[in-house]
Structures are given as C-alpha cells and as structure tokens.
C-alpha cells in the first residue's frame, strides 16, 4: 500500500496584539536547564541540560515516559520552581534576575497555566475567572470583565459567561481555563495534560482551541502522553531521563523553516 497524502500548506494567520518583542525572539527560552533533587547518593537528576526555544505562533508538545522530567520542565518554565543551574528566559527576561516579587509579577503578566483539573475558582463565573488575573494586575474591574467577555466571544463561549464552574462541562471549563491563560497581553501558555480528564472528542476540541490561540500569536508548551493530542503541535519534543532525546517538526513547520533558511 502506498501512502500518498498531500502536504499541508501553511497559511499566514493574523496575530494578536501584544507587547513588542524583537522579531524572532523566543517567547520562552530554556538554556542548559538542570534540576536536581537531593544530594550525594540520594541525588536525582530530574532535568539535565535542557535547551528549548518556543516562538510566537508555535505550539510545542513534550512527551516522554513517567519520570522523564516533563512536569519538572513545565514547572521551571513557568517560574513555579527554581532551576539548579541554567536559565529560564521569558519574553527576554531571565527570571533568575528578578527576585520573588518580580517573578510573580512576570508570571501574572506573561504566563498562563492550564491544568488537567482546570483549576477554575468555583465561586466565580466564567467571565469573572478570566477577568481575575487582569484585576490582580491593576486593570479596572469594568475593563477586565469587558476583556473577559470579548475573549469568550472570540472563542464562541459567550453563552456560558455567567455560569459557575459546576454549571459547565469539563470541556467548557478547560476552554475557559485557556481563555484565562491568554487574557490580556499574556502570550505564553503552559499546559500540563490539558486533555487528561476529557473524552476524546472534547479533548480534541480543546486542542483545536489551543492550536488556534497559538496560530493567533500565542506560544504554547504542552505536556501530554497522548500522541493524538501531541500531533496538534508544531514540534514534538521527546524527553527521556531528564534529557531531550529527539524532536519532530510538522511538515508545515519544516517548510516554514526551509523558507526562512532560504531568505
């Protein structure tokens, strides 16, 4: 049987407005990142010298067996843990130079998280959940709610704006979580098994949305053990024993790089 599938051609997509960043500068850069736990005979290397850049418009999936360092990578990338050595650079800023408050502010301003169990605040509606990070950032309640409703409308979810999490399906909650992750000027979304609690069709809809957000100008890193969801990414990175052992580009990403290389 011969397989003859036409190749996908990339099409230019509009970008979200965002804070200026030098052209081609990665939104996230991990430089020689290492994380060890314990010392001496009990020393465990969770990550060993990881180098990874994620650019605007790019969705990167991280795969690997249990204990390969996937979640550690995501935790360090989001500034939720501190590396043993190496650097995490978000939108051009090395977070090790920022101090605790500075990292917290950068996280709030630039990084969105999506978790397997959604982590929406139960006492807030969908719109209020999305508005909350903006309100914490000093944006007026009125403006933040307006932005939240606009984000929901863009994602065809306006009809659930006033629902509380327990009045939403899992898929709706995860879509609200993605909207919250990317509200305002935030361009980096870090997703840890975002489809883990969803059935196959809903999981796919969530991935399509994440893919769309990246096509519109966000940058995403997603940890998953599901090849079917990883396949929505531009690049799939394989981790083993704390190191990147391999990575794939999609044909579309390949041809984009070929065009860039030719210029």
């Amino acid at each position: 049987m011969s397989s003859h599938v036409p190749s996908a051609s990339p099409s230019p997509t509009p970008r979200l407005s965002a804070a200026p960043l030098p052209v081609d500068a990665p939104v996230l850069e991990l430089r020689d990142l290492t994380r060890t736990h314990g010392t001496g005979i009990a020393e465990v290397h969770a990550l060993r010298g990881i180098n990874l850049s994620v650019h605007t418009g790019e969705l990167v999936a991280v795969m690997g067996p249990s204990g390969s360092g996937k979640s550690t990578l995501l935790t360090l990338a989001g500034g939720l843990d501190t590396a043993s050595s190496g650097q995490v650079v978000i939108e051009g800023q090395d977070i090790s130079t920022l101090g605790r408050k500075g990292v917290a502010a950068l996280r709030r301003r630039s990084v969105g998280y999506v978790f397997q169990d959604y982590n929406l605040i139960p006492a807030l509606t969908a719109a209020e959940n999305i508005a909350l990070p903006r309100e914490l950032d000093g944006v007026s309640v009125r403006k933040a709610r307006k932005e939240a409703r606009a984000a929901l409308e863009e994602m065809d979810l306006l009809q659930i704006a006033d629902r509380f999490p327990d009045e939403m399906s899992g898929g709706q909650q995860q879509r609200v979580a993605i909207a919250r992750a990317l509200v305002g000027d935030r361009r980096l979304v870090l997703a840890d098994e975002p489809t883990g609690a969803l059935d196959s069709e809903t999981g796919e809809a969530v991935l399509a949305l994440l893919r769309n957000r990246c096509d519109q100008g966000a940058a995403g890193v997603m940890v998953t053990h599901e090849p079917r969801y990883a396949a929505w990414a531009d690049r799939v990175v394989f981790l083993r024993d704390g190191s990147i052992v391999d990575q794939t580009l999609s044909t579309a990403a390949d041809s984009l790089l070929a065009v860039e290389g030719a210029e």
Binding site: S2, V5, P6, A8, A208, D234
Partner: protein, 205 residues
C-alpha cells in the same frame, strides 16, 4: 485493500467509465491509495467475467460505460455486512523489525523504537494538520466526509503504533531492570513450559 468492492460501491450510484471510477475512488479516499487506470480496467474485466458488472453502452464522448448487476449488488451488500477479517493479520514490517532487534548484536533497540516513534508522530502531525484543514469548514459533501473518516483512520492507526512503541520501550526497560536485579537463575534440568499457551493469530503468507 478491496478495489473490487470499492468500484462496485461507486457503480451502485449509476453507470460509470473507467477513468471516472478512478477519479471518484481517489476523491473518496483523499488520494491516500492512488489507483492507476490499468488496475481499474483489470478489475472491471474480472468483475465482468464474474457477472457482477456489464458493459452498458457509451456516453456522449464514446467512453465505455459499466453498470452493476444484481449479482454485483448482492456481493456489495455482503461486503458491507461482513466484518473485515482480522484473524490473518498482514505481515507488519515494524513488528518483524522489533522482533528481530530483540537481542540482535550491535542493535540499540531503544534507538530503533525512537526512530520509528519520530517517524510515526511526524506522520500524525501531518495528518492532524490536514484534518484541522478539513474541519475548518463543515464537510459539505460525501467525498469530504469520506476523506475526513479516512484521515482519522490514519491518525488512529498511527496512534496505536505510537502507543505500542511506548509500551515496547517501557516493557524492555522493566525487563532490563529485572534482569539486572534478579539473582542468577539456577540451572534447570528440565525446561519450564508455560501453564497454558494462548492461541496465536496465524500470519497471512
């Protein structure tokens, strides 16, 4: 792959000529399994020999038209009603390759697995991109719906392969760990046979 039944299914919608059947077959399956027109005419003549189609005049451009017979319709119905046989799996090169790689001198089986996983996941990325394009607009006709189903079949098949590769790798790691920690087995005078040998599927020759 049953070209024979594919052609009968297309002919059930009305008389058609050879190259038209080829075009319609390929539209329905997104050119995933391209046919050459020679295969189409060879299959048509066998179907004609077996009484499942007949030549049925010509169209305005002089193309010889074929029509399905009652015998062909019965064959087609039976094809739809009968599950595809899975008891004689076709030879799978990857399964054979991994089976041969176990314990082969100088072969890093984890590297063999990763190389295949890379290829399989990349194919899935390409299929998924095509699927996203196919879903961007609601499929408007039966060819587009059929193409979507074929694409999803390719994705599911590749996913099964990727999962199996993950499983093989973790199985090998566990076995290697067990071999490293287990004491040396005592020399046995008789070989130990498994309590019960499950029936294996017979491979297709």
């Amino acid at each position: 792959m049953s070209i024979r039944h594919g052609l009968l299914a297309l002919l059930e919608r009305g008389p058609r000529y050879g190259s038209q059947l080829r075009t319609e077959f390929e539209s329905r399956t997104g050119s995933t399994w391209p046919l050459n027109v020679g295969q189409v005419y060879t299959t048509l003549s066998r179907l004609e020999r077996d009484g499942m189609v007949v030549q049925d005049g010509e169209d305005d451009q002089g193309h010889a038209l074929y029509s399905i017979t009652d015998g062909g319709r019965a064959e087609l119905r039976s094809w739809f009603e009968t599950p595809v046989d899975r008891s004689n799996p076709p030879r799978d090169e990857l399964a054979i390759k991994l089976a041969m790689a176990v314990g082969a001198p100088g072969v890093d089986i984890r590297a063999v697995i990763q190389s295949q996983r890379h290829h399989t996941v990349k194919a899935m990325q390409d299929y998924t991109r095509l699927k996203a394009q196919a879903l961007a607009d609601v499929p408007a006709n039966r060819d587009e719906v059929a193409w979507l189903l074929v694409l999803e079949q390719l994705i599911f098949q590749a996913e099964a392969e990727a999962r199996w590769l993950d499983h093989c790798e973790s199985r090998l790691v566990r076995l290697a760990e067990a071999a490293a920690t287990d004491p040396e087995p005592e020399t046995r005078t008789t070989s130990r046979a498994p309590a019960r040998t499950p029936a294996r599927p017979r491979p297709r020759r």
